[in-house]
């Protein structure tokens, strides 16, 4: 493995870098989730399903 304890194996990123990449993923998921929820509510308002 790596001699640098700060590096996350196997990507070779440091811990901070890996956390930053991860934060983009998390933020993206949150935004997409909220958008999807909102879109579903709006569709349900105009053309209700399940009832």
């Amino acid at each position: 493995m790596s001699d640098d304890p700060d590096k996350v194996w196997p990507t070779g990123l440091t811990l901070r870098e890996a956390e930053e990449v991860h934060s983009y993923l998390i933020d993206g998921t949150r935004v997409f989730g909220v958008i999807a929820l909102l879109a579903h509510i709006l569709v349900a308002v105009s053309t209700p399903w399940l009832g």
Binding site: W9, P10, T11, G12, T14, R16, E17, E19, E20, V21, Y24, D27, G28, V31, F32, V34, I35, A36, L38, A39, L42, V43, V45, S46, T47, P48
Partner: protein, 483 residues
């Protein structure tokens, strides 16, 4: 025993960097193909602009029967974000990232917002228009969600354009900047014209389902094109990341004040505002003017748009050529504004007995002038940008430019409507309200030229210094250029 785990991890590590969206090294030379790819973000910006200002404007009023006042407010919402471009640029300049990225995170965020806005927009519009069961829904749901959709798209598009242009400026050397600006403008125009044609064809037989398909297709295209444009453009940089961590930046207000205080900046921004305002007002009026004042058919006025775009393209091309050979951007910008004056004069005269040919010449001239002016002033802004504040300088350019263009379009419509309604049933000639607007444009352009005169002289002096500096070294150029 064969160690599967370490084998898999080693394989994974070896393919890693190739599939990461960041370049590993900042290459000295950026090939044209890479710049061409980067400029794709302008296509999505153009697409969003056309969808908002052109397509949805008509669809909301004609097919969805939304009250015109609500439509006007909705379409003005994205404009609210234009002044915030300066702040976006500043944020990306001072961004702290462990990966050493400054631009990519903001382009990604902007793309997300743009996508999100487009994703909910069709449903929001359908609810707003009371489609299906939505008739019984409370009014605020439709209005609120539509406003949110337009705000998201507007925020995303301003973010992507500001930071994208900053990234392009980061990537290329000073002498290549005119080429890049030309490319960016051409792609914006291409995106606008292309998507206008595509939206027009797709929405010819309007159904609610088709509206959803078109807008959401637009959302998917935006994300894919922006991802493709961004891929491996900005280098991952540990030394820069370390610098970012330690760097202390001046506050936004201070940075803003210093930027404005630069000798030519305020004047340059004023010129950009006046010129953009002057050219912007004509955008929406040339076609109806051709139809109402000169009696051209719809097919003929559509060709008119092609003529205007052709003139603009020629302007971009010529500006890239001249500025690439070291011409002064401010002087060229002044020429661009100057060309518009006889252009609009010809347009006015065409309805006063000059005939259609005069009109066509005028249209072509205004297109040419707008192309030269836009290209030259953006290049001037890029050149005047202090090294660490490129994003902020371009943000300020975008804020002035987008705000003025938006206000100009809105004002042109208002002036024309007021003139039309004031004329009463007996009426003034059909061309009078339009000519009024064109007169305002001539005045604005003349003002822009006048303000630009001392600017051109000042820049010329510093340019002669630059010519000396350029032969010595490429890296310190920016600091010399703005002296």
């Amino acid at each position: 025993m064969f160690n599967y785990r370490s084998f898999a991890l080693r394989k994974l590590a070896s393919i890693g960097p190739k599939y990461l969206p960041f370049a590993d090294v900042a290459t000295e030379e950026v090939p044209l193909s890479r710049l061409l790819r980067l400029s794709l973000f302008q296509v999505t910006v153009g697409m969003a602009l056309v969808l908002l200002v052109g397509t949805l404007n008509r669809v909301m009023i004609v097919e969805l029967a939304v009250p015109a006042s609500i439509v006007a407010i909705m379409l003005a919402l994205p404009l609210l974000f234009a002044p915030l471009r300066t702040l976006i640029g500043y944020k990306s300049d001072t961004h702290v990232s462990a990966l050493g990225l400054r631009r990519a995170p903001y382009i990604w965020k902007g793309t997300l917002y743009q996508f999100g806005g487009f994703a909910i927009m069709p449903f929001a519009l359908l609810v707003l228009s009371g489609y299906g069961e939505a008739v019984d829904a409370p009014r605020w749901i439709g209005i609120g969600s539509a406003a949110l959709a337009f705000l998201l798209v507007g925020a995303g598009l301003h973010m992507v354009q500001t930071v994208g242009l900053a990234l392009a400026t980061d990537l290329v050397e000073d002498e290549d900047q005119p080429k890049v600006v030309g490319l960016m403008y051409v792609m914006l125009l291409f995106g606008m014209v292309g998507s206008a044609l595509i939206f027009g064809t797709l929405l010819e037989n309007y159904t609610p389902g088709r509206l959803i398909q078109v807008i959401q297709g637009c959302a998917v295209t935006t994300v894919s094109l922006n991802m493709f444009a961004m891929w491996k453009q900005e280098a991952r940089d540990r030394t820069r990341a370390a610098q970012m961590l330690e760097a202390r930046h001046e506050k936004f207000e201070v940075a803003m004040r210093n930027l404005i205080k630069r000798p030519t900046m305020k004047r340059l921004l004023l010129v950009i505002g006046l010129g953009t305002f002057g050219y912007g007002m004509a955008d929406v009026l040339l076609e109806p003017y051709g139809g109402q004042a000169l009696g051209l058919s719809v097919a003929q006025t559509t060709k008119l748009t092609a003529l205007l775009a052709g003139g603009t393209l020629l302007g971009f091309g010529y500006a890239s050529h001249v500025l690439g050979q070291g011409g002064s951007p401010t002087r060229l910008g002044r020429t661009g504004a100057l060309i518009g004056i006889p252009g609009f004069a010809a347009v006015i005269l065409s309805s006063l007995g000059g005939g259609v040919l005069m009109f066509l010449v005028g249209t072509f001239l205004t297109g040419l002038g707008a192309g030269l002016f836009g290209h030259a002033t953006l290049t001037a802004t890029m050149r005047a940008a202090p090294k660490g504040q490129i994003g902020m300088a371009l943000g300020t350019w975008g804020a002035v430019q987008a705000t003025c263009a938006g206000i100009a379009v809105a004002l042109a419509g208002i002036v024309r409507d007021v003139m039309l309604s004031a004329s009463g049933p007996a009426g003034i000639a059909a061309h009078a309200p339009y000519n009024m607007v064109f007169m305002i444009e001539i005045v604005m352009l003349a003002l822009a030229v006048m303000v630009a005169v001392p600017l051109g002289l000042g820049i010329k002096d510093s340019r002669s210094q630059t010519a000396g500096a350029r032969s010595v070294t490429g890296t310190d150029q920016k600091s010399v250029e703005v002296s």
